[in-house]
Symmetry: D2
Subunit: 287 residues, 4 copies
Amino acid sequence: MKQTDIGRMRISCPDQPGIVAKVSRFLYEEGANIIHSDQHTEIEKKRFFMRVEFQLPSLAQRLDQVRSKFEPLATEQQMDWQIALAAHRQRLAIFVSREDHCLRELLWRWQIGELDADIRMVVSNHPIWQETVEQLGIPYYHLPVNKENRDQVTEQHLQLLAENQIETVVLARYMQILPPAFVQAYQQQIINIHHSFLPAFIGANPYHQAYDRGVKLIGATAHYVTEELDQGPIIEQDVYRVNHRHDAEELKRLGRDLERIVLARAVQWHLSDQVIVEGNKTIVFPG
Amino acid sequence: MKQTDIGRMRISCPDQPGIVAKVSRFLYEEGANIIHSDQHTEIEKKRFFMRVEFQLPSLAQRLDQVRSKFEPLATEQQMDWQIALAAHRQRLAIFVSREDHCLRELLWRWQIGELDADIRMVVSNHPIWQETVEQLGIPYYHLPVNKENRDQVTEQHLQLLAENQIETVVLARYMQILPPAFVQAYQQQIINIHHSFLPAFIGANPYHQAYDRGVKLIGATAHYVTEELDQGPIIEQDVYRVNHRHDAEELKRLGRDLERIVLARAVQWHLSDQVIVEGNKTIVFPG
Amino acid sequence: MKQTDIGRMRISCPDQPGIVAKVSRFLYEEGANIIHSDQHTEIEKKRFFMRVEFQLPSLAQRLDQVRSKFEPLATEQQMDWQIALAAHRQRLAIFVSREDHCLRELLWRWQIGELDADIRMVVSNHPIWQETVEQLGIPYYHLPVNKENRDQVTEQHLQLLAENQIETVVLARYMQILPPAFVQAYQQQIINIHHSFLPAFIGANPYHQAYDRGVKLIGATAHYVTEELDQGPIIEQDVYRVNHRHDAEELKRLGRDLERIVLARAVQWHLSDQVIVEGNKTIVFPG
Amino acid sequence: MKQTDIGRMRISCPDQPGIVAKVSRFLYEEGANIIHSDQHTEIEKKRFFMRVEFQLPSLAQRLDQVRSKFEPLATEQQMDWQIALAAHRQRLAIFVSREDHCLRELLWRWQIGELDADIRMVVSNHPIWQETVEQLGIPYYHLPVNKENRDQVTEQHLQLLAENQIETVVLARYMQILPPAFVQAYQQQIINIHHSFLPAFIGANPYHQAYDRGVKLIGATAHYVTEELDQGPIIEQDVYRVNHRHDAEELKRLGRDLERIVLARAVQWHLSDQVIVEGNKTIVFPG
């Protein structure tokens, strides 16, 4: 199958009988074949969610037309909806600070073609990864942040993102808090990796917190960034077993392996349009 | 929602454009509201699979009628299909030998209402669990098996199952091999728990095999029984970490916890019509 | 090996060179053979921990004598220490409220000989498990608790425990908070199962909290009870993957399987003298 | 603590009373302080295993002397034994074929100081990773293998290893079978990553085998190489949950994450002298 013939539709709307029928008839009449169709209903909230992956010859050329024709049904059903081309490579910005394990993980997956996106830039408050990044042909922006220049740097960030039409920002262990203006401009478009099993150990030094609490499993959490620190919708989490032999430094070391994998999964699901955010939660459909 | 208004449809058929549209329109026109709809396409084999959970007022009374009306579409699309009532409690037989951990697990879940089935009998080649079973009001059949009487006992088994209209047989650590006649009579209706991570350690004494091989994880596998020993379609598997401190006896002990949970999950998914068998594999839809 | 010949020594003391040498020489000179020896040093805190499992002919008869002879070394090294007979079956009390899954798990393991203890009583604020418990020959004390009688019930509890020389109390989903007097009387002797991955979701209704937060893994935590709610030293934790399909009720149902296993492991490790508490953490040695 | 003051002793010998006492007294009298001491007894085989991590001032200078002084005790107890300096960086060779995920994982850990070894060379039957490797300052040997030149290449391999005094060979997805001469020369020194949960799916294309069998978890196994393919002592294994949505290609993709982590753990445990091989199994002591 040609990637340019494959589309992904995401729908969120009030639950009513007949939605699946209407959506699937629409696709059938457009000449589409459904590859995957996943649906979920929040019964208490009477809310309906759907993701359809479909094949439609020449979709790349016909995308705008298909969207227009879907509009009336979408309006009738009060849908939040997207139809995206599977072949579309999102424009990505990666933010990083001193620790490079998440950055390198994403770069490596990108190099072998597993991360299907267009990494337009790496932004850091440190100069240290410049060579690593630039030798892959990716621009590196070193923008140090301190109390005085915070607002100004945020402006620079937002300008860079705008100029490059960035669609998704990945905080790959970027240890600066993004100001509300930034977060609001990219809602459900900023993915952060937090180095704990949220909501345990919010804030700074989660591995030290975990060590002090004596937990028997450490965790990592990838989530969309909202204005409240470490409170956004969780996309993915995982854990690893530890014991009394592991001090805080070793938790940190073992945690790196979790962080890399958890972030990479979350980014991949996001890029494949598998995630729908509802309130402060995510629905993650199978790929 | 009333359980008697809820139906579950399972479909397996050649993949063609429009199936989801046709099925969902059918349900919509019958007055059904789709609660869950999951679909899967085996692209290489051009095979389509679907499970729909729907609400339809008075379905219990209208079930035969709905099935009849679906028949033409099913025939047109060459479907293997079932429509079951969620409220239908399957008639279950549990077979057990000397080890009772899986039996007790199922009985306990049945007592607290988690195992939504009608346990009609427990069959064993040993007398030991008679009191445990009978005090719950479940008939216990003690049918010892040896080389001489094997055929005769199989006949007794099949007669018991037939008389009680048993729909699903669970081998809860039943250590006798079922003869082909039995297996053929209940295809995709017999669930076995094997105490290893199949296909590793087929056959007898898997924990001793695992100990001898020095594996770092032990496993358990629930699968449908076919004529080839331990080769049937896998429904569920799980593992637990072990180390050099654990001898074969301890692997056995730790494995019991895996076996119980893995079997219970598989039985529950089977009873909720979440499983479709395709060739020697299963598709397990979310519940 | 005869269980009555097997001893388990636990030591916690300031770290100094020569401790292992001194302890192992002591055992050797007593005629003991070391089966397992595990040691741990908290380097920053300069604290030494050791667990030794040893075989010593007629240890059951000689236990007091061995303890006396060890006393001088223990004093010299400022040790917290115990020497216990592996054959000693601890006297256990289980507390339970409305949910019986943890109770049944412990009872079943006790019946098959896996839980090596003497269950002297089950205490509940509800009458519902009386028959289940008494038919196993275990006394059942139904002591309802309310605001008015709380102090009086605590006294009854403590009296029952004292009369029966209870060594370990297991809170198997006992949903009443134990008052400080109770907790202080049984420090490091009360094990609770909390139905979340602590420190996430402290307090009431953790599954609802987990559902509301949209976590992708649910957890359970077994810990020693201290005066601060859900803050005691963690013995064991485990998690299970969930998704958007699972509502709070299903998290509760899936969580039961975690709770049972996590509590059972913790109780078993405790009964096998594998646990040393240090500050608010545990060292859990292999068995 | 200075790394040059830290030693690691590994012992394997017939079980007898007093060994721990004798070994720990020896260390005490040498002026050593024990940091970690782990011991294991195979009761049936009457075999004793021990790993001790100790601090001894100026150990680097005194290492030969300490070894000499230990010799009589070792001989008396018929020990297989090693005393290694923690500061010793083993000389490593990495072999790789077409897939680079394991190679890159090791290189990255080496770059950030987590893999505490001296990577002396990367050997491949393909030229493709030359630049990646050489820009890190590591020599790359491209030695293509075919039916005709196999013996000759093996000779070249062995010569390269000898010249560089290689201590450990890591097969990071090297898809050629090593001949007996190679394996015999480096017993318990060659670590391979196999892309299945051994002993399931031995040999070629394990992900296709796993897909065909319909397993619900995929695995990876790191093991020492012996003359029998995929039969050597297992060091580490792990698994990841999959479902019917994942085709063989996706199993392969998901498996890469397992392989990297499992191999990295095994190599690290090996380099930290945590592993003792006994028969066809490993004892992996905590670090």
